[in-house]
C-alpha cells in the first residue's frame, strides 16, 4: 500500500488533460480512464466494492491495480477527492441524435431554417434515457467523497453539442452535484477555450489547460488547496 494520492481522476479521454494537469502541478493523482464509447455503452456497474468495470479488460485491470495500490476494496470510498468527466461522452450521444437532421432550437441561436427541429424537452428526456445510470453513479460517488464533474471543452461548428452539454450540466446541478465548467474561467468572449489550451484535435484540452482547471478549482474552494 502506497501513500494516498491527492486526487482520483475518473472518466473518458477528457480526463487525460486533468491527469496531465495534476502531474504538471506536482499533485499526486491516480486515474481510471476508459473510452467515451465504453462509458456511453454503460460498461460499468455498482457492486459490493463500489464501481466495477465490465467488459473492458484494460480498465478493469487498472481498477484492480488501483485497489491493490491503495489497499482498499472501494477506491472511491477512501475519502480522496474525485475529478470526473463521466456523464458527457458527447461524441457518442450527439451524432446519432442528428442522423435524421434534427437540431435543438436554442433561444440565443439563429432560427433554424433547414432540416428538422426537436424540442429541448425532448432532448432532455433523450439525454436522461442514455445518462440515467451515469448520474446515479455520480450521485453515489458524491455521497462518499468530494466529487467534481468537469465539463469538456466546447467544440466549434458541431450542431447540438452545446445544447446537450447545457442539458447535462443542468441535470447534474439539478441533482446536487458539483460541476466545474472551464468555460466560465478560461474561455474567451466567444465561450470557447483559446486555441493554445486546446489539443490539435480541437476536441480535448491540453495538459496546461488541465493544470489551469485544477488550479481554478482549488482557488474557488471546490478542491482543498
Amino acid at each position: 500500500m502506497s501513500a494516498k494520492p491527492d486526487l482520483l481522476i475518473l472518466g473518458d479521454s477528457h480526463a487525460i488533460a486533468l491527469k496531465q494537469g495534476a502531474d504538471l502541478l506536482g499533485l499526486p493523482a491516480e486515474e481510471l480512464q476508459f473510452s467515451g464509447a465504453g462509458w456511453h455503452d454503460q460498461r460499468f456497474a455498482l457492486g459490493e466494492n463500489g464501481l466495477e468495470v465490465r467488459g473492458i479488460p484494460r480498465a478493469a485491470g487498472q481498477l484492480r491495480a488501483l485497489r491493490e495500490k491503495l489497499g482498499v476494496a472501494d477506491v472511491f470510498a477512501s475519502g480522496i477527492p474525485v475529478l470526473t468527466t463521466v456523464g458527457f461522452h458527447l461524441g457518442r450521444l450527439v451524432p446519432p441524435f442528428g442522423w435524421n437532421g434534427h437540431q435543438v432550437q436554442e433561444e440565443d441561436a439563429a432560427g433554424i431554417t433547414e432540416g428538422l427541429t426537436a424540442s429541448r424537452a425532448f432532448a432532455k428526456e433523450y439525454v436522461q434515457h442514455y445518462r440515467r445510470r451515469h448520474f446515479r453513479l455520480l450521485r453515489r460517488l458524491a455521497r462518499l467523497t468530494t466529487l467534481i464533474v468537469v465539463v469538456p471543452p466546447r467544440v466549434h461548428d458541431r450542431p447540438n453539442y452545446d445544447s446537450f452539454q447545457h442539458i447535462i450540466v443542468e441535470d447534474l446541478r439539478g441533482v446536487g452535484l458539483t460541476v466545474y465548467d472551464p468555460a466560465e474561467d478560461l474561455a474567451g468572449e466567444d465561450g470557447f477555450l483559446p486555441d493554445n489550451l486546446m489539443a490539435e484535435d480541437g476536441i480535448h484540452a491540453t495538459a496546461e489547460c488541465g493544470a489551469m482547471m485544477i488550479a481554478a478549482m482549488r482557488e474557488q474552494g471546490l478542491l482543498a488547496a
Binding site: 479521454s13 432560427g111 426537436a118 424540442s119
Partner: protein, 362 residues
C-alpha cells in the same frame, strides 16, 4: 311468363347487386370493394395524414414493409417509448391529427411557403409553456418558448412539403366536419380551446360545422397547392368510421355523427369523381355499413377493433395495383448514417490514441 327485355342491369357483375355482392357473400366474403384507379410503381411511396383512423393505415403500411415515407422521424436512436410520447412516427410528418379539410389547407399553405409558422396561433399556459393550436398535444408539456414552438411548426411544415414533393400517394383520412374557429383571425383549431389546451373565450371562439361546399372548397384548395408542388401526386381519400366523441351541434351525437360522415363521404366521392388523381377507398363502409352489423366496434360502439382494421387493410392491399416498374434506388440515408458512424469511430480512435499517449513517458 313475361320475357325480360334487355337492360343495363342484366350486364352488371355480381358485386353490383346487394344479394350477391353483400348478403350472400357475407362480411368476410366481400370482394372487389375497391380497386386502385392507378397503376403505381412497385416501390410507390406513401404518406399518411388525417384523423386518428389514419394511424392504422400508417401502421399497416409499415408492417407490410411498404414504402411509407416518414419525413419527420424521431432523432436517431430514440427509444420507442420516447418517440411515442412525443408523437413521432404516427403520421408521415409530425402534424398530429388533421381532422378537417380546413386544417389540411393550413398545412398545405405552410408547406408551400404561402404562410409562415408565425401565422399559426400560439397559446402560453400558466407555467409559461407554449402550445401551437394546430397541434395542441404534439408535445407532452409544451414548448419552452414561442421561438421553439415556431421552429417546430416550421420543421413539420418542411417535412410536410417533403411528403408532398416525394410521395406517389398521399392517403388522407377525413375525420370531422365539426370544428372550432377564431372569429377574429379565422384560425381553425383541431380541438376546442379550453378542452386541455388554450382558454375558451366566448365571442372569440366559435363552433363551426363545416358544410359540404366549405369542405369541398378547402379540400380542392389544399390539393391544388399540393399539385403545384408535385403534379404527379395521387391522393387517396378515406373517411374515418370512428364516430364523434361529442357534438356541439345541438343534435344527438348519433345523428351528428351520421351527418358528419355522410358529408365527408359525399365530398370524398365527388373529389374522386372529378379528379383523375383522386381516388376513394371505402374504409368507412367496410366498418360501418350494415354488412358488418357493427361487429368491428368495441363495446363502447366507437373504437374500432383490431380485426376490423385488419379487414380494412386486407381490402386496401387487395385493391392496390403496384405492377409498374420500381423507380427508385436507395435514398442515401443509410450512406449518410454510415458516414456519421465512421466519424464517431474515427473520433473514438483519436480518443483511444490519446489514452495510449499517456503511456508515453518521454
Amino acid at each position: 311468363m313475361v320475357e325480360k327485355s334487355d337492360n343495363p342491369y342484366r350486364h352488371l357483375p355480381a358485386k353490383a347487386f346487394w344479394r350477391t355482392g353483400v348478403a350472400e357473400a357475407g362480411l368476410f366474403g366481400l370482394s372487389q370493394l375497391w380497386s386502385s384507379a392507378w397503376t403505381l410503381p412497385a416501390d410507390a411511396q406513401f404518406v399518411t395524414f388525417g384523423s386518428c383512423f389514419a394511424q392504422h393505415i400508417s401502421r399497416a403500411l409499415i408492417s407490410r414493409k411498404m414504402n411509407w415515407l416518414n419525413a419527420e422521424p424521431a432523432p436517431g436512436r430514440t427509444p420507442p417509448e420516447l418517440a411515442q410520447k412525443y408523437n413521432y412516427g404516427v403520421f408521415s410528418a409530425r402534424t398530429g391529427n388533421i381532422y378537417t379539410a380546413a386544417q389540411l389547407l393550413i398545412w398545405a399553405r405552410l408547406a408551400s411557403g404561402a404562410a409562415g409558422a408565425g401565422s399559426v396561433e400560439y397559446w402560453t399556459d400558466g407555467a409559461g409553456l407554449v402550445h401551437d393550436m394546430l397541434r395542441p398535444k404534439i408535445e407532452p408539456q409544451g414548448f419552452v418558448s414561442r421561438k421553439e414552438a415556431e421552429a417546430s411548426v416550421a420543421s413539420t411544415a418542411r417535412a410536410f412539403a417533403r411528403c408532398i414533393t416525394e410521395a406517389d400517394v398521399l392517403v388522407f383520412t377525413l375525420g370531422l366536419t365539426e370544428g372550432w374557429i377564431n372569429t377574429a383571425t379565422g384560425q381553425s383549431y383541431s380541438i376546442c380551446p379550453g378542452t386541455g389546451v388554450g382558454t375558451f373565450e366566448e365571442g372569440v371562439h366559435a363552433f363551426h360545422n363545416y358544410t359540404y361546399p366549405e369542405i369541398l372548397r378547402d379540400l380542392e384548395a389544399a390539393l391544388q397547392i399540393m399539385w403545384q408542388m408535385n403534379p404527379d401526386l395521387h391522393v387517396l381519400l378515406t373517411v374515418s368510421p370512428v364516430p364523434l366523441v361529442a357534438t356541439a351541434s345541438g343534435d344527438h351525437v348519433l345523428v351528428a355523427t351520421q351527418y358528419s360522415k355522410s358529408v365527408l363521404r359525399a365530398v370524398a366521392g365527388d373529389m374522386a369523381n372529378s379528379h383523375a388523381q383522386v381516388d376513394y377507398f371505402p374504409s368507412y363502409e367496410i366498418i360501418a355499413a350494415p354488412s358488418s352489423r357493427g361487429t368491428f366496434f368495441e363495446p363502447n360502439m366507437r373504437a374500432i377493433a383490431h380485426d376490423g382494421v385488419d379487414l380494412v387493410m386486407r381490402h386496401f392491399f387487395a385493391g392496390l395495383d403496384l405492377s409498374a416498374p420500381a423507380r427508385r434506388a436507395g435514398t442515401g440515408g443509410d450512406a449518410g448514417r454510415a458516414a456519421v458512424e465512421a466519424q464517431m469511430q474515427a473520433e473514438e480512435l483519436v480518443c483511444e490514441e490519446m489514452l495510449l499517449e499517456t503511456f508515453n513517458e518521454r
